[in-house]
């Protein structure tokens, strides 16, 4: 098992490292002091699980979780006081630890990770299909995802969520259409939309749009249509999502 510790406080990282070193099946432990370092380490070190602090400078742990490229590592949140925020937040969240925690509690979390890893090793359904987002919207009200981290060609940059006009799937990626570029994020549209909350609405099998960017709905043949955005962009809007779009902007 490969582990990445992400925490901005050195003693907190040291403590996790000291306790994790005592587990025999952990082959490598890496650490990162913030979200940017975390994404860089993930690309290089390919950890199976993150021990992820929530309150960190510039990029919160929840924003790191929302930015993880597929296939995403599992997450054990480690936090002082945000237990309400992380309960059932993310399909990849296996457990959460409340600081300060003892060795026995950490071992239980590691055991859960082990079980999840074994299940994933079987040819059974992928781990991230299950786990509906119970209470996700309440969490987002408390801790909205305001920014995503995107690593492209070894450079990690921040994309503000309120600068995204619309989102389009492109093979294994989603393209985030902003005023200055279309960065790619290796995620599914469904998983991303769950994390971004009600500011975005799905308008097509392959597209979603930020509700407050819609200028008007243009109807084409057979009930299909297009959305004209303030930016002038046109986004496909298919019949089965049309009602949802109308409801979202009403």
């Amino acid at each position: 098992m490969r582990v990445l510790i992400v925490d901005d406080e050195l003693p907190a990282r040291d403590k996790l490292r000291r306790l994790l070193q005592q587990e025999s099946d952990i082959e490598a432990i890496f650490d990162a002091a913030d979200g940017f370092q975390a994404l860089e380490r993930i690309a290089v070190d390919r950890p199976d699980v993150l021990f992820l602090d929530i309150q960190m400078p510039e990029i919160s742990g929840l924003e790191v979780a929302a930015s993880l490229p597929m296939p995403a590592p599992m997450i054990v949140f480690v936090t002082a006081f945000d237990q309400y925020a992380i309960r059932a937040f993310d399909a990849n969240a296996v457990d959460y630890l409340l600081k300060p925690y003892d060795q026995a509690r950490l071992q239980r979390a590691v055991q859960r990770v082990r079980e999840r890893l074994q299940r994933a090793a079987l040819p059974a359904p992928a781990a991230d299909v299950a786990a509906p987002n119970l209470g996700g919207s309440e969490v987002l009200a408390l801790h909205p995802i305001r920014q995503l981290l995107i690593s492209e060609r070894g450079v990690t940059r921040v994309v503000k969520v309120d600068q995204i006009d619309w989102i389009e799937t492109a093979d294994n990626y989603v393209a985030l259409h902003t005023a200055d570029g279309q960065p790619l994020l290796r995620q599914t549209l469904t998983a991303l939309l769950e994390k971004l909350g009600p500011a975005f609405v799905r308008c097509h099998r392959r597209a979603a749009v930020r509700c407050d960017r819609i200028e008007r709905i243009i109807t084409l043949d057979k009930g299909d249509g297009e959305l004209l955005l303030h930016s002038g962009a046109r986004v496909p809007c298919s019949r089965q999502y049309r009602a949802a779009v109308v409801a979202a902007i009403a």
Binding site: D8, P11, A12, R18, P57, A80, F81, K99, P100
Partner: protein
């Protein structure tokens, strides 16, 4: 529009002189006088000149009102002006009377000048002394009211600060992260873990303290703030560096309780915890020309434009408490430094 109190004082003053004129008039009629304007002119001229002189004195000596707390000093200062009254009062009053008589084609007869001076000076001295006693009473009463008002305000602000700290500021994040730090330190350095626990306890004790005390010495406040700083420096080991430049003479100065630590806490909350780079903080305290200055500078903070005047309830409450304790002489300001950083500066009067 003058205040209610001022209007009452003016009315009392006019009534007093009306009384004086009436008495003089009655006395004049009693002794067989017929020209009723004579006594009115005599007392009227005295009244006007006395009013002008006393107003001038008030204006010049208002800034010594702080001496009211030691009446002998205040009285001797006021009485020092009396000889001037002897010299100035009689010539002006008699000049007015002579002039008015002359304009109406009459001549003003009175006692020879030495007698006039003696008589007027004795009368004036009595009058002046009585006036000062009354003035002392009025001013003391006003000061008393003001003080009571200030004390009530200070009490209210104290309660507000305590309530705020109890409900908001015992930050679970601070507490649990600090405990987690200690939990790790114990395996590395028991002495350090122990020291950190004690400092954490000091911070908690100060936070939970709801005593009646408004002020404490800077030394005590510094001890609490250093304790908080040590806990935070353990947590953010690589991300913060704090320099303390404290003039020892300033440590006896009285400062509002919980004034320094919240300012440092602000820097951690808004800058150290939000930034990935290392933040350098300098805490400076010195006392010069009767004023204590405590200054906290960081080198990374950014003050949002609107926040300069009212950043958070903490700074607003501290500002109000300083105002209640020291009036315009106590202040706390936040300023943006260039190229980066925020300066928090507290000033208050202190004898040193």
């Amino acid at each position: 529009m003058p205040s209610r109190n001022t209007r009452i004082l003016i009315a009392a003053w006019l009534l007093f002189w009306a009384l004086m004129i009436t008495v003089e008039l009655q006395d004049y009629i009693h002794s067989g006088g017929k020209e009723y304007w004579h006594p009115v002119l005599w007392e009227g001229s005295s009244g006007i000149v006395a009013t002008v002189l006393l107003l001038t004195q008030r204006r010049l000596m208002r800034r010594y009102d702080y001496m009211l707390v030691s009446p002998p000093r205040w009285f001797s200062l006021q009485m020092a002006a009396l000889p001037l009254y002897w010299i100035v009062f009689t010539p002006i009053v008699y000049a007015i009377r002579h002039a008015v008589y002359a304009m109406l084609g009459e001549s003003y007869t009175h006692l020879p000048w030495p007698d006039v001076f003696l008589y007027e000076s004795i009368k004036l001295s009595l009058f002046f002394t009585i006036f000062m006693v009354v003035l002392f009473g009025v001013l003391s009463y006003q000061a008393l009211l003001r003080e009571k008002e200030q004390a009530q305000l200070a009490d209210r602000l104290m309660r507000e600060m305590q309530l705020h700290r109890l409900t908001q500021q015992i930050q679970p994040h601070f507490l649990f992260n600090a405990l987690n730090t200690v939990s790790q330190l114990m395996h590395v350095n028991v002495e350090k873990a122990d020291a950190t626990l004690i400092q954490l306890a000091d911070v908690l004790r100060a936070t939970l303290d709801i005593s009646e005390q408004h002020e404490t010495t800077l030394a005590t406040e510094l001890q609490l703030t250093r304790g908080y700083a040590r806990v935070m420096s353990e947590r953010f080991a690589e991300r913060v560096e704090i320099d303390w430049i404290i003039d020892v003479r300033s440590e006896v100065c009285k400062v509002p309780v919980m004034s320094l630590q919240p300012l440092l806490e602000n820097i951690f909350k808004h800058t150290v915890e939000q930034r990935r780079q290392k933040t350098r903080i300098t805490v400076v305290a010195y006392c010069r020309e009767g004023e204590l200055t405590v200054r906290l500078d960081d080198d990374l903070g950014i003050l949002a434009p609107s926040e300069g005047e009212s950043k958070g309830i903490g700074v607003r409450n501290l500002r109000a408490r300083l105002q209640a304790l020291h009036g315009d002489k106590g202040s706390v300001t936040l300023t943006q430094l260039t190229p980066a950083g925020v300066r928090a500066e507290m000033r208050l009067p202190c004898v040193c």
